[in-house]
Symmetry: C2
Subunit: 337 residues, 2 copies
Amino acid sequence: MKIVIDGMGGDNAPKSNVEGVVNAIKEYGVDIIITGDKEILENEFAKHEFDKSKLEIVHTTEIIENEDKPVKAIRSKKDSSMVVALRMVKENKADAIVSAGNTGALLAGGLFVVGRIKGIDRPCLCPAIPNVKGGMTLIADGGANADCKPINLVEFAGMSNIYASKVLGIENPRVALANVGIEEGKGNDLAKKSYEELKKLNLNFIGNIEARELINSYTDIVVCDGFTGNILLKSAEGIAMSILGLLKETFLASTKGKLGAMLLKDDLRKLKTMMDYSEYGGAPLLGVNGGVIKAHGSSDAKAIKNAINQAIKFAKGDVVEDIKEFIKTIEENSEEE
Amino acid sequence: MKIVIDGMGGDNAPKSNVEGVVNAIKEYGVDIIITGDKEILENEFAKHEFDKSKLEIVHTTEIIENEDKPVKAIRSKKDSSMVVALRMVKENKADAIVSAGNTGALLAGGLFVVGRIKGIDRPCLCPAIPNVKGGMTLIADGGANADCKPINLVEFAGMSNIYASKVLGIENPRVALANVGIEEGKGNDLAKKSYEELKKLNLNFIGNIEARELINSYTDIVVCDGFTGNILLKSAEGIAMSILGLLKETFLASTKGKLGAMLLKDDLRKLKTMMDYSEYGGAPLLGVNGGVIKAHGSSDAKAIKNAINQAIKFAKGDVVEDIKEFIKTIEENSEEE
């Protein structure tokens, strides 16, 4: 088992990436490859005590920045820490990659460098949002495909179902369709047609879910096109953060408020952690020929370590093999019809 | 100026409707027609002191329930409080209608009873969500049209722009397109094409807005298809309410928390009010030949009174005439091309 880390990707790279790698080696005993500027990385690693036999540093000379155009960056920055790491997955030198770098570039790299699983029309990004029960809900697709057909949503459902069972350990995950009402027949053309197809799948499809219920832990997975997924994800993130900000502002506006807030400090911190999307590790890109885990851009050492743990479980869980099996059954069923 | 109220529509009808009407007569001196069971309504009105010359009760024998299928209900329950009220707008016996009843039925009734403005392809529902600055942001379309073409979004933009200026009194309203990124060229096919068309309009189009920024008061209007609008609206509503619920739960879990919450009681109540979507009056149905205001299903007397005020401003503002003018300029421009 070998995991490769994009050493230079992320707002806190390479410091947090290096610290996350050190802690992952200590905690999971995993072999790690890290890509990036060798001198910089060695200086960072020199600050830590750990089993150096577990680490390989691969020198790269370029960095894909957040401002770079995704496809162009992947094609032109061939010696970037991200592209070199992706190539290692492609060439089976590593079982999975973790990157906190440019999301669009990682999606493009997943497609063009690692490559799609045969039979999958569109890979999907699968981030999680926290719910009020302290658990999380996967969004498939969380933003990789703005325009979708029903077959794409079927693939997203199947792939995220495998990921939820194998990597997150959820038994018989509940899969719901994002919609504007709970009754069958509701929604836009895509939702109506997708509902018909999702019903036929051999998984725990619980029907439609409204956006207002997403936070209430009624489902483990919500399936939708990537445009809708992005809206769901970003509005949850924005509103949660704004309300917490508003609370703080309101409390600090009066002496009584300040006193109250002081008493509630621990509770408020707990709430903030619960609502902090970066706590929930990385989002897998499902449907490509290997483990690709996107860590949050603002990942700290703990988030990187968590994402490495996800990558390990992804590789151990044979997620890619299971997706290949799933696609076979889909193709067989559609031939029978 | 005459406003007609669906006396039997809404979770708190007819009590709150009657009380809202009484307060509206007192505060605005407006003439009101109310539809519904005459005996029940007379009994309710008997509890209040007000200028009875301002009120006309029109007896109806049927009620459209929340569970009724919208189109079927409008077509079959011809003597319902909602259909009779809609017909009064159609026949110019009233300038606008307020209903807190079945939303789908009111949309269908707006189309089939009141009728579309000539040249408008799709009327839109235009609810508001609160923002952290204490103001609100209109969503056009907030759920009337699940599938849309770019021309529909152009109409939504123009109509909500008129409503925001004339009824809400916002000067030169900012209009943004709901999207997954702020740069031009982002999004799904509909968003990309709509952006091109929105740029050409003679209004204050400020470009794309991401879902996470909606609560931050960066725009007065957000334009989108009704599927996306519903997702935006419902996720904002759900998350805001869940976080406030979570806060309460967390605070009440410890003695320290209880003490802190007691000190913060007023602040928390202020926050709750700010986030309470029913406080923000009704949502207009724009693009039909008259004022149609949908009040929240759970409207209390205050919400009904606020919705009546909106209906008055809607009629006074000549919104329908302005929309007719807007459509003319759109048609002229497309002929020129």
